[in-house]
Amino acid sequence: MTTTDKLNEDLLEMQEDTQEGKHLTFALGKEEYGIEIKNVTEIIGIQNITDLPDMPNYVKGVINLRGKVIPVMDVRLRFGLGERAYDERTCIIVVTIRNSAVGLIVDSVSEVVDIAAGQIEPPPLVRGGQSSRFVSGLGHVDESVKILLSISDLLDDSELDQELETARGEA
């Protein structure tokens, strides 16, 4: 958990003005993803998750975050990447958007990197697949490429509503 602790410290130290261009990177499988730091509240280890009925499979349930109950989403399942058992490297990234907190379950968190606007390319639309709509851009960091995600698209409520409809319709 040392990575997590260090990252949390970084998060605490960071002020509004220094957040520009900063991204938190995490891994799903062999790819690295990045989200803007300004949405990230903290990173916690995997917790006991309480199941919710009638939710799409990627909404794993709710957890207790120091007295607050927040929903958690398995990002793998959200992208249709296939399930993977949680282990000690599995993390929950707590993001806050429009005043409500949601936890994102990822394989592991990596680091905070600077990715300037100039290093970000728009996502090439080749396959037009379902999950590519979450991609806000591709960021060059040294030799590697990080897939940058748009949190608000990831947590898009209207889409959840639709999926809920279907999930409940099938039920």
């Binding site: 006991n48 309480t50 199941d51 919710l52 009925p53 009638d54 939710m55 909404v59 349930g61 709710v62 957890i63 207790n64 007295g67 607050k68 109950v69 927040i70 929903p71 409500s100 907190a101 949601v102 947590l155 409520d157 959840l160 509503d161 809920l164 409940r168 039920a171």
Partner: protein, 802 residues
């Protein structure tokens, strides 16, 4: 009061004036509407109501005049003149007049709003002129016609038959004032709570004034103390005026005037005057005590006190309201504001009283002596009574602090569970007797704490409900429909947060009923209904919930129209034929839904019902719709009684734990095979003492893995909702505990069968079951269709339907 020199104190005065004014308007409006309705009745208009309304305008006028708010002053003056005519019985009130008065109230609101924002009522002159003109016309019309029943008025009074105000005295004489009016006010609008509030507040104000005066005695030139005394006296006067305690009002008004004179003329106060004012405060306290004891407040030797004060005003010398020479007659001017015939009568009464109670005591010092003598004699008794009044005290607290306290109590309950169920202790192989005892004690304290904090936050719904009277009146007139509003259970108390959030939903539901529910009179007659539609607003306690029902006897919801509209708006894919009625009704709560064929200015923008649902959900409540075509609609707002903590049973199903509210549980039992009948589709029905009740497995409802696949391995919880029963199969009962309700994230939204969640002693999150929702689920679930039929028949199996 020129707008240029507004210091803080004047601002404060203005604000308190605005607040008082708005409160008074809130009071008066339902009365006006009541009056309108009352004129249907044979006995005619209630003179007490008229007096009440008259007093409102009178007090407003007085304060506005003092504060230099000319527009308000002029409008209220004209309205007062008009009302006085009715009060004296020289004219009857028509619906036209009531309309005019209601518009005046509206205008006053607008003016008060301006005063609050801009510290002036200027800028509304045109409108004021128009209104004053109309009021004036009404006045002249009455004065000219002399008698009430002129042809013009017949024409004006659309639906109302004017009734002559029963003047209790001959028309030439002034109407009853003083005691009669006082006691009657106490009867008809002032609730016991208000009276208590009044006496507590007034006591505080007197104490404030006393302290300020005492401080002033030490530093006669300290303006701060002087202002404080003035403010306290001013507020006290206002309170007394509002509650119709005339003697107190007069005496405090005069004291206020003296203080104002000193302040305005930058005089320093003399010790003699301070002593006099303190004596007066004692008198006022005496008056308050009478009120607390349920008597009308009277000040003995009022006139003496008044003239003593008047002398001081004279001594200060600058522009007293009237020359000092004739102290007796100018009393009326300076005390009651506007001198009138009624004031003179009052004065006579007072004079008579002075002569009666203190024979020959025409000079104030003698009265003083007498009073002092009284004090000495009854001194001990008085002290005791003083403390008696002070015992019932209240503190005004910031709502934020109350909210914080409530949150803390919630945390405490969770922490308590964490301690009591701590695995470190439970795992230890030692005797836990003493520990258990302490835990029990702790539980009791925290429960008491919760009860107290909950009760602190409870407020009756009456205020919110009464506001709807006006709404219904206005909207029904606008929609040209005849509608009566019936209010039931307005005394029902709910949490403060509910009061804040419930207003908008009620407004929208009532608008909806008026606009879309209740038909026009001719359509109603054609349908064989009473021409006058009824909307019923009802509040009641149901188990752990408060239900607020908005019921109308209109045409009900139209399934086809709703479906068509939902499809048109893209809110529904497919034909919607498979949807149950209940599901169709829920469609109207979707954002952007509206079935009104024409968009009216009251509803039909398609936002209202959306607001209803959202506000109610914010309160962790639910909205149920029941509807009979042509018979009307009932919207039931189901709100949790406590927003925070309930008693719950923790049950286990597989790995998951759920909370079932204790109030819903009727009994628990271990099922016996011989009592269970299985229908062809797998639905199981259990026979409990002759009642056939369907069984639902929680693991099926919530789709979780369960150990108790078989009935005999589980436990059955019989739950009840609205008279229907259902058996829930669970793996195990873990125990009963207090549950702090937390909302599920907005991201998740509304879950069928779940009302919220909580954090258990071990830190895990557990879902709280919504039993009514489970019943709905059981009704919709195709697997349990026979179960639904059973439910409909109150749990009785009818073989014919198989």
């Amino acid at each position: 009061m020129a707008a240029s020199k507004l210091d803080n104190e004047q601002l404060e005065l203005l604000h308190s004036f605005v607040e008082e004014g708005l409160e008074m308007l809130d009071e008066v409006e339902p009365q006006l509407i009541e009056l309108e309705r009352g004129s249907f009745q044979i006995e005619g208009v209630d003179p007490e109501v008229l007096n009440g309304i008259f007093r409102l305008f009178h007090s407003l006028k007085g304060s506005a005049g003092y504060l230099g708010l000319e527009t308000i002053n002029r409008v209220t003056h004209t309205a007062e003149t008009l009302l006085d005519l009715f009060r004296k019985g020289s004219a009857v009130l028509s619906s036209e007049h009531i309309d005019l008065l209601i518009r005046t109230c509206d205008f006053m609101r607008q003016l008060l709003g301006d005063v609050n924002g801009k510290q002036t009522d200027k800028g509304n002159e045109d409108e004021a002129k128009k209104l004053i003109g109309q009021l004036g016309q009404a006045v002249t019309a009455i004065q000219q016609s002399g008698t009430p029943s002129s042809a013009e008025q017949e024409k004006n009074s659309k639906t109302l038959k004017p009734k002559i105000v029963p003047a209790s005295k001959a028309p030439s004489e002034p109407p009853p004032e003083g005691e009669e009016a006082q006691s009657s006010t106490l009867h008809f609008t002032i609730t016991p709570e208000m009276a208590i509030q009044f006496s507590v507040e007034s006591q505080e104000l007197i104490d404030q004034a006393e302290q300020a005066l005492l401080a002033l005695e030490k530093e006669p030139n300290n303006l701060e103390h002087l202002s404080q005394a003035f403010r306290a006296m001013h507020s006290f006067k206002g309170n007394c005026g509002m509650f119709g305690h005339r003697d107190l009002e007069k005496l405090s008004h005069q004291s206020e005037t003296v203080l104002a004179e000193i302040k305005d003329n930058a005089r320093s106060i003399t010790n003699d005057l301070i002593s006099l004012l303190l004596e007066i405060l004692d008198e006022l306290k005496g008056g308050l005590r009478m009120i607390t004891e349920g008597q009308a407040a009277k000040i003995q030797g009022l006139l003496g006190w008044m003239s003593l004060l008047q002398d001081y005003i004279g001594e200060i010398g600058v522009h007293a309201t009237a020359p000092i020479a004739n102290a007796e007659s100018n009393m009326a001017d300076s005390s009651g504001g506007q001198a009138s015939a009624t004031e003179e009568a009052e004065l006579e009464r007072l004079l008579a009283e002075v002569c009666e109670t203190a024979p020959g005591a025409s000079t104030p010092p003698q009265i003083l002596e007498r009073r002092q003598g009284d004090d000495r004699r009854s001194g001990a008794g008085r002290r005791q009574l003083d403390t008696g009044v002070a015992q019932r005290q209240s503190v005004r607290v910031d709502v934020e602090k109350l909210d914080a306290l409530l949150d803390l109590v919630g945390e405490l309950v969770i922490a308590e569970a964490m301690v009591a169920q701590n695995p470190d202790i439970r795992g230890a192989r030692i005797s836990l007797d003493r520990f258990e005892k302490s835990v029990l004690h702790l539980e009791k304290i925290s429960r008491d704490l919760q009860d107290t904090i909950t009760s602190i936050r409870m407020i009756p719904l009456s205020g919110t409900f009464r506001k709807m009277i006006r709404l219904v009146r206005d909207l029904s007139t606008k929609a040209e429909k005849k509608i009566e509003l019936e209010i039931i259970g307005e005394e029902t108390e709910v949490d403060k947060t509910v009061i804040e959030q419930i207003n908008d939903p009620l407004v929208h539901l009532i608008r909806n009923s008026i606009d879309h529910g209740i038909e026009t009179p001719d359509k109603r007659l054609a349908a064989g209904k009473n021409e006058i539609g009824t909307i019923t607003l009802e509040a009641k306690y149901m188990g752990s919930e408060v239900w607020i029902l908005v019921k109308d006897d209109g045409k009900g919801l139209n399934r086809e129209k709703i479906l068509a509209k939902a499809i048109e708006r893209g809110l529904l894919s497919g034909e919607g034929n498979e949807l149950s009625d209940a599901e169709v009704w829920q469609l109207i709560f979707l954002p952007g839904f509206s079935t009104a064929e024409k968009v009216t200015d009251v509803s039909g923008r398609g936002v209202g019902m959306d607001v209803v649902k959202r506000n109610i959900e914010n309160l962790r409540g639910k909205v149920d719709v029941r509807c009979e075509p042509e018979q009307g609609c009932v919207f039931t707002l189901r709100l949790p009684l406590t927003l925070a903590i309930i008693d719950g049973m923790v049950v286990r199903v597989g790995q998951e734990r759920y909370i079932v509210p204790i109030v819903s549980i009727k009994e628990t039992l271990r099922p016996n095979y011989k009592d269970v009948t299985q229908l062809m589709d797998g639905q199981q029905i259990i026979n409990i003492r002759g009642n056939l009740i369907p069984i639902m497995s929680l693991h099926e409802i919530f789709k979780v893995q369960s150990e108790a696949k078989d009935l005999s391995e589980g436990l059955i919880l019989m739950v009840e909702n609205e008279g229907r029963s259902l058996c829930l199969l669970v793996d195990e009962l873990i125990g009963q505990q207090q549950i702090v309700i937390k909302g599920l994230s907005r991201y998740i939204g509304d879950l069928q069968g779940i009302s919220g969640c909580t954090i258990l002693g071990d830190g895990d999150v557990s879902l709280i079951m919504d039993i009514a929702g489970i019943f709905n689920l059981s009704g919709q679930n195709k697997v349990s269709t026979p179960g639904r039929d059973l439910l409909k028949q109150g749990g009785r199996l009818q073989p014919a339907t198989m």
